[in-house]
Amino acid sequence: MKEEIIIAGFGGQGVLSMGKILAYSGIMQGQEVTWMPSYGPEMRGGTANVTVILSDKKISSPILSKFDVAIILNQQSLDKFEEGVKPGGLLIYDPNGITRLPERKDITICSISAVDIAAEIGNSKGYNMVVLGAYLKLRPVVTLDNVIKGLKKSIPERHHSLIPMNEKAIAAGMERLVIHNSL
C-alpha cells in the first residue's frame, strides 16, 4: 500500500493539522509516513498545502508532482493541483467558493460541503475533520480506531475533551459525501 495525498486550501482551514492527524493515524496503523508542508507567510488567508504519504515501505521522495488523491479546499488549489492527480485517482473538493468545477474525466471526483455540514453540526472548527471523514469513506487507508488514536496524539491533552465532537464531524463527512464522477 502506498497513498500519496495533497491537501490544499487557505491558511486557517486546518489543512496542515488535517494532514498531521492523517499522518499520525498512519503511524498508529504501523505505516511509514511523511508530512511535507508548504511553509512561509501563509498563516491565515494565503494558500497552504501539505503532501502526506502513507506507505507499507520506506518512503523515498517526500516531494511529488503526481498524487493518488487531491483534497481541494479552494479555487486556487483546484487550478493548481487538478492536473496533478494520477489517472484513476481521486479528487475531493468543497464546493464552497468554487467557481470552476473540476473537469477531469479519468479520475473519481467527489464533493463534500464541509463548511455547511460543520455549521449544521455546530462544530465549525471541525471543518477539516468533516473533510477527513469524506476522504476516509472512499479510501479507508487507516481504521477509524487509529484515526482517534492519531487525534489523541496530534492535539494537546487539554483539548482531548473535544475528541467526541471531532468523531462526530468525521462521521458526518462519511455520510454526506457526494460522488460526481465514479470510474
Partner: protein
Amino acid sequence: MAEQILMKGNEAIAHAAIRCGCDGYFGYPITPQSEVMETLMDEQPWETTGMVVLQAESETSSINMLYGGASCGKKVMTSSSSPGLSLMCEGLSYLAGAELPCLVVNVVRGGPGLGTIQPGQGDYFQACKGGGHGDYKMIVLAPSSAQEMYDFVDLGFELAFKYRNPAMILADGVVGQMMEKVELRPMKPRWTNEEIIKKMPWATTGKTSDRKQNVITSLALDAAVHERLNHTLIEKYKKMEDEDVRFESIQCEDAEHVIVAYGCMSRICESTIEMARKEGIKLGLLRPITLFPFPTKEIDRMVPQLKSMMSVELSTGQMLEDVKLAVNGRLPVNFFGRLGGIVPSPEEVFEAFKKSINK
C-alpha cells in the same frame, strides 16, 4: 520498540539536544529553523536536565556564547539558517583555531543575501571549505530524514569532542520542516563537573595547584608555534578523513551510472533511481552523510565500473567540485540543480539524467 513520535526535523533536533545531555543552546530565530528554539522553550529543559536555553541578541552573539561554554568543556550548540550562519563564520574560525568542540545546525535556505525562506543547499562551500578565515575544517553531517536530524545531534557532539573541533549539521528547509516518525533514544545525563575535568583536561574548569593554567586561544604570534598549531589541525582533519567518512550507497553494486546527492535531494533521487530501474537503466545513488570528510575513496573505488556520475543539488554545482576531484577526469561528471527554493520532482531529475547520458 520505543514510542515513535511524529515530528518535524527541527523539533527532532531540540528533543535530541535535551536527551543527549546538551548543556546549553544559544540561538536567534530565523525561518526555516525557528522550531528548534520554539520546541526547546516549550520543553523547558532547564527545569529537568538543567540545560540552558537562551535567545541571544544576534547570531554573532550566540556563536561567541558557544566559545565561552565550549571553553569550559560544556556540550553547547546553536542552530540557524543561512544568513545567520554567515554572521557566525568569524566565530567558527575562532572555535576551530582554539580547538573547541561545539555543534552548529544550519537549516539551509536559498541565497545569496536574504534570498528566500524556501529550501536550498547553497551553503555547501561555506560549510565544507571554510566560510570563516584561515585553514580550518569542520565535520559536516548531512541528514536526510527527521530520524537523522535526531540522531546526528548526539553523533555531532561525539565527533566534536573526539576531535576538539566544531561539528555542523547541514540540513535544508525540507528536512527541517518535514514531519516523519522519530524514535527517541534513551536519555543520557549531562556530564558532571568531575566528569568534565576528567574528560577535558584542557578545559578552563578552574586552576588547581597541581597543574599549570589552561589557556584557550586561537592567537599564536610566534611563527613556529603558529605553524605547529596549523600542523596539529591538519593532522586532525586527516584523521577525520581516515576514520569518520560516512555514506550510504543505494543500488550501486551493479550500477553503470551513479547520482551523488545529499540531504533532501538524496530522498528525491532515491525515487529517481526506482524509476530508472523500472526502465532497465542501471542507476545507483551515493549519499554522502559526511560532506566533510567527503567519501572521495568510495567514489574512487566506484569509477572503474561506471560510465558517468551526476551531482544533483539545490545549488549551482558546489558538491560537483568534490565529485570531480574524486573522479579526477576519468568519467564524465554531469550536474543538475534547481535554485530559488524550487525543489525538483523525481521525474524532473530523471529527465535531466537521461538527457545527460544521451548528449
